[in-house]
Symmetry: C2
Subunit: 550 residues, 2 copies
C-alpha cells in the first residue's frame, strides 16, 4: 500500500503546498472568518493516506484470475491505495471520513478496462456471480455517487480512465464521438486543437470525466449560453447487464419517448456509458467581460431575469449575494491595495453603494464578435439599477474559477464545516426560496455552533428560472461532525423542496439525496424510475443504492 | 347523422370554396403541374360526408348510461358524424379513405370530458372492461395516430377539446400552465393578450392542440429559434391507467433519468396528458425579414449551416431546393406581373442566377430590436455566395404559411397523389441523404406514374444538423392508390434510415412508421419502450397499435 505516486497524493487535499488555494492576504481572510464563526482551531487528520486502514479485499484467487483473463493482468488492481482512492467521492462527508481515517467500505478490486468488449464481459461475469459494479469516472461526486455499498458479495469498481479518446470529429456537423472516461482538460485540449470547444466547465472540470458529467446531468459554468450536459449530448452508447443500447445520432426526432434522456442522469445504475456524441462549438471568435454592482440581491435578480427573458445569453452569469460579495472581496484583497482598487471603491461609494449590501454580477460573453458586442451592450438596458464596473472582476474570476474549491482543505484543517447546497427554481419562487433556505441554514447551524456564514450566488440562468448555490460554514462540532452536518443538510433540503426548488440542479442524487426522491417525483414517478432500472439491470448489480433503491 | 354543422363540414376539405387555397393564376399552375405529371383528370369523391357508411357502434345501453354517468349526458356522443370525424387523421391515406367513402373503423363513442376527474374515471372504467381508449386532440395526425384499432371490444375516443383553458400565467417566470386540449389559435390569442407568445406554429396550427403537440414531439415553423415542443415544456400532468404523474416545475434538474422526456412523445400510448407548464416569450419587440437566392441548394445548405454554427438563430429558416423554388414561383405568379416583380427577375438574371437551378432561403428574425438587427446583418457574412433579395418573399410566405396545405384538396380532386416525408440528419449526412431520398422518391413513383414532381426544403435547423421536408406528387394509379403510395413511402423511409436520418423529425410514429422503429432504435431500445408502456398501461388500453405493439 503506497501513496508515493504524487498523482495519487493529490486526492483529498493531500497535495503539495502549491495545490492549496493561494489567499491574497491570509491574515485578513482568517480574521474575517473568525469574526463570523468564532475562534478556529487546528483539526487533526491522519498524517498519511498510507495510515488509513482499508477493509480487506474479498476476492478468491480464482476470481482474480478470471478478472485478469477478461481485462489483462495490468488492468486489475487489488492494491489498497487503488481501493482507497475508489472508496469515496469528494463530498464533505467523504473528506471527513478520509481525514479521520475511517473508510468503512472499499471496492474489492478496481478494474481499468481498455475497451467495450472487456466492459461487456465484466458485466456478464458480475451478473453471473451477483457481484456489484460501481462505474467510476473522475470520482468527484459530492452526493455519494461512487462509494461501494455494504453488501456481502464482492464489489468491483470499474474505472473508465483508459477509455479516454476522442474517436471522431465531424467537422461538418460540429460534433465529436468521444469515449466516456476522458478528463475535462484532455477533452478540451484535443478539441481545441481542431478549433472546437465543448464549453462544459463544471467546477470539478480538472478531475471529472465526460461520462461522469452525462451520468449525473452536470452543469458547467458556461451553461447559461451552452446549456447543461443533457443539452450537449446528441447520442450515446451504454452497456447494461442485459444488452447494449446505441442510440441514433440525429439533431432531433419525433420517435416516442426520449431514450437518450432516460439514460442521461442514470448515475451508473442502468449500465456503463462508454461513449457519446456531443455538440461542439467553434472556439469563440471574441470574448467580453462585464461586472455590475447592484444595491441589493433582489435588484440583481430582476436584472438577470430580464436579460434572459429578452433573449440575451451570456456564457457565464454569476450574481453573488451581499454575503458572497463580501467573501469574494476578502478572498481577493491584497495587503496593499492598488491605486485602481482604491479608486474603484471610492467610485462605488460615490455612486451611493453600500458594499456590505451590494450584489456583484459577473458576465462573460462569447461568440462572433458582433453578437458579443451587441449582447454586452444590451445588458445595460436591463441593468439600469446597477453600476457597470468594467470587466476586471469577471476576468479575475475566470482565471481562478477552478481554484476556489482547494480552499476547502485549509478550512477543514481549521475545523470548519464547509459545504454547499444547490437547487434551481422558477423566477417566481426564487426570492422566497432564497430567504427560506438562508434562514434554514443559519438557524440549523446556530443550534450547533457559535456562528454561521452563509453566502449564495445565482448562476445557470434560464428564461424561466435559475440555480441558487448556497455555501455554508461553521465551527465543526467536534466528535459529532456527521450529525451536525446531517441536521443542516436536512433543514436546507426540506426547505428547498417546500419552496418548489429542484432536489438538485447539477450535483445529482447518489446515496445522499435519494431519501427525498419520493417527495420530489411522487410515488408514481419513483416507481417509474424503479421500473426502468428493473428492465435494464434486473439483478441490481449496477451501482445499487445510488439514485434509488438499496 | 348529419354534417349540416359548417364547423364539421370543414373536415377533410369539404369546406366552402373560401376554404380552398387561392392560386394566384390557376391556369398557369395547373399547366405547369400537367407538364410534370402528365394529364390530370377529375377524381370522383363521395358527394357528402353524410353518404359515408360508419360501422355500427357496439355499446350496450347500460354501458352508455355508465359513460354518461361519469361525464354527463352532453359529453358522450354516439352520433355517426362525431364518430366519423374521430375515425381518421389527416394523412394522404385518411383523405383517400374519406373521399372513397371507405372508413373501416370508427370509435364506438366519442367522449368530451370536462375535467381530469372524469378522465381518471373513464380510464378506470375502460381498464375494468378492457376497452380501448384513443386520446384525441385536433385530429391532425398524418401518421395514423388517432385511428381506432380493429379490436373486438369497444373503442372510446376521448376528445380533449373542452380542456381548453390557460389556467395560470406566471409573469415572473414567463411560463403558463395550460390545459392540453386548447387549439393553437386560442392559445396564442390568450397568451398575446397578456403580452406573451408560445411561438409554436406547426403547419397544423389552426387545428391542432397543445396536448397533441406534446404527445407527438411536434416542431413549429419558428423552431430554429424557439426549439421543438419538447424544449418548450417545463412540466406536465398525465393520467395513466395506473395513476397520475405530476412532474415538478423547475427550469432544469439533475434528478436521474428525465421522466418529462419519457412522457413527451408518448403518442397517447401511456396515458392522457391533461395539462402542461410551457415556456413563454414576450411578444417580439421587433421582426425583420430577409431572402437570399443561392446558385444551388448545396451553397444554400452551407450558408445556413455556417449561420447556425456561428450562433445565429433566426426564428424561421427555410431553404427551398430548386424544384421547390420553382413551385413556389408558380404558386405565387399572378397573370400580370408587377413592375417590381419584373425588375426583380431582371436583377436576378443580371447577377448570373439561373432561376431553374437556384435555391431560395427565407429568414425571419424576432426579438429585441438590436439583437434582431445584428443577427440579420450577420447572416450576410455566411451568405456571401447568395444574393440578398429583401424581405418580401419571406413576408409573403409568413402570410400564407397555414394556407398551403389547403391545396391538397384541389390536388386530390384532380387525382394527384400528394404527400410529404420528413426527417432530420447531421449536416455531414445531409447532402447524400437529400440526393438519395429524391432519387428513391422519383424512381419509385415512376414505376407507377408517367411523371413525378419531387421538391424539398430544409427547415428546423440546428448547429448539428437540420430537417429535410420532401413533397412528392404524381398521377394516382386509379384503383391501386394505396399500394402505389405504400411503395413510395417504403422506398423513401428505408432510404432515410439507410442514410442516417431520423425516422421522423416532427410527424411522429403512429401506426404508419412503427414497422421501422426496430431498425431505428434497435431491439434493446424498442424493448425499453415496450417496458415503459407495460408499466404505465399494463392492459394495453391506451391507443394500442400506435408507436409500438399492436
Amino acid at each position: 500500500m503506497s501513496f508515493d505516486n504524487p498523482e495519487k497524493m493529490k486526492w483529498w487535499g493531500w497535495g503539495l503546498e502549491n495545490e492549496r488555494y493561494a489567499l491574497a492576504d491570509p491574515h485578513y481572510f482568517w480574521s474575517f472568518l473568525e469574526s463570523k464563526l468564532g475562534p478556529l482551531q487546528q483539526s487533526p487528520r491522519v498524517s498519511s493516506l498510507n495510515d488509513i486502514p482499508v477493509p480487506p479485499a474479498r476476492l478468491a484467487q480464482s476470481d482474480l484470475a478470471r478478472l485478469k483473463k477478461i481485462c489483462g493482468d495490468e488492468s486489475v488492481s487489488t492494491e489498497n491505495s487503488d481501493r482507497l482512492v475508489h472508496a469515496l467521492g469528494k463530498s464533505y462527508l467523504d473528506l471527513l471520513r478520509i481525514r479521520h481515517g475511517r473508510v468503512e467500505a472499499a471496492p474489492d478490486a478496481v478494474i481499468f478496462p481498455e475497451n467495450e468488449k472487456q466492459i461487456k464481459a465484466l458485466l456478464e461475469f458480475a451478473s453471473e456471480r451477483g457481484w456489484t459494479i460501481v462505474p467510476f469516472g473522475g470520482g468527484t461526486s459530492v452526493v455519494g455517487g461512487v462509494e461501494p455499498p455494504s453488501v456481502d458479495k464482492p464489489v468491483l469498481t470499474i474505472d473508465l480512465q483508459r477509455l479516454n479518446r476522442v474517436l471522431e470529429i465531424d467537422r461538418a456537423s460540429n460534433t465529436a464521438r468521444v469515449q466516456s472516461g476522458i478528463l475535462g482538460p484532455d477533452l478540451e485540449r484535443e478539441l481545441n486543437g481542431s478549433g472546437f470547444t465543448l464549453a462544459h466547465y463544471p467546477q470539478s472540470f480538472e478531475f471529472s470525466t465526460l461520462g461522469g458529467w452525462i451520468a449525473t446531468r452536470s452543469a458547467g459554468q458556461n451553461s447559461t449560453k451552452y446549456g447543461k450536459i443533457e443539452h450537449m449530448v446528441v447520442s450515446l452508447r451504454i452497456i447494461t447487464p442485459t444488452g447494449i443500447l446505441d442510440l441514433p445520432t440525429v439533431p432531433a426526432d419525433a420517435v416516442g419517448p426520449s431514450l437518450l434522456q432516460c439514460l442521461i442522469g442514470s448515475e451508473g445504475t442502468l449500465g456503463i456509458i462508454t461513449q457519446a456524441v456531443v455538440r461542439l462549438h467553434p472556439i469563440p471568435e471574441h470574448r467580453a467581460f462585464a461586472t455590475y454592482l447592484f444595491h441589493d440581491f433582489s435588484a440583481g435578480v430582476g436584472a438577470v431575469r430580464d436579460m434572459l427573458q429578452a433573449g440575451l445569453r451570456p456564457a457565464v452569469l454569476r450574481l453573488a449575494d451581499p454575503e458572497e460579495t463580501a467573501v469574494a472581496l476578502r478572498l481577493s484583497k491584497t495587503p496593499r491595495q492598488s491605486f485602481t482598487e482604491l479608486l474603484g471603491q471610492w467610485y462605488i461609494r460615490f455612486r451611493g453603494f453600500n458594499l456590505e449590501k451590494s450584489a456583484l454580477l459577473l458576465l462573460i460573453f462569447e461568440g462572433p464578435r458582433n453578437l458579443v458586442l451587441v449582447t454586452k451592450r444590451e445588458t445595460r438596458r436591463y441593468a439600469k439599477d446597477g453600476v457597470l464596473l468594467g470587466g476586471l472582476p469577471a476576468i479575475k474570476w475566470m482565471k481562478e474559477r477552478f481554484r476556489h474549491p482547494y480552499l476547502r482543505d485549509d478550512l477543514l484543517d481549521r475545523s470548519v464545516m464547509v459545504d454547499t447546497v444547490e437547487t434551481a427554481a422558477p423566477w417566481e419562487k426564487l426570492p422566497e426560496l432564497y430567504k427560506a433556505v438562508r434562514l434554514a441554514l443559519s438557524e440549523s447551524i446556530l443550534d450547533t455552533a457559535p456562528g454561521a456564514l452563509v453566502f449564495t450566488h445565482l448562476s445557470h440562468a434560464y428564461p424561466d428560472g435559475a440555480s441558487l448555490y448556497f455555501t455554508f460554514m461553521a465551527q465543526q462540532q467536534v466528535g459529532k461532525e456527521l450529525e451536525q452536518w446531517q441536521i443542516v443538510k436536512e433543514a436546507a433540503t426540506e426547505t428547498i423542496l417546500k419552496h418548489g426548488g429542484a432536489l438538485s440542479h447539477h450535483h445529482g442524487i447518489g446515496s445522499m439525496h435519494k431519501i427525498w426522491l419520493d417527495s420530489y417525483l411522487g410515488p408514481e414517478g419513483l416507481s417509474l424510475l424503479a421500473h426502468l432500472k428493473n428492465k435494464m439491470d434486473p439483478n441490481n448489480i449496477m451501482n445499487p443504492g445510488k439514485l434509488l433503491g438499496s
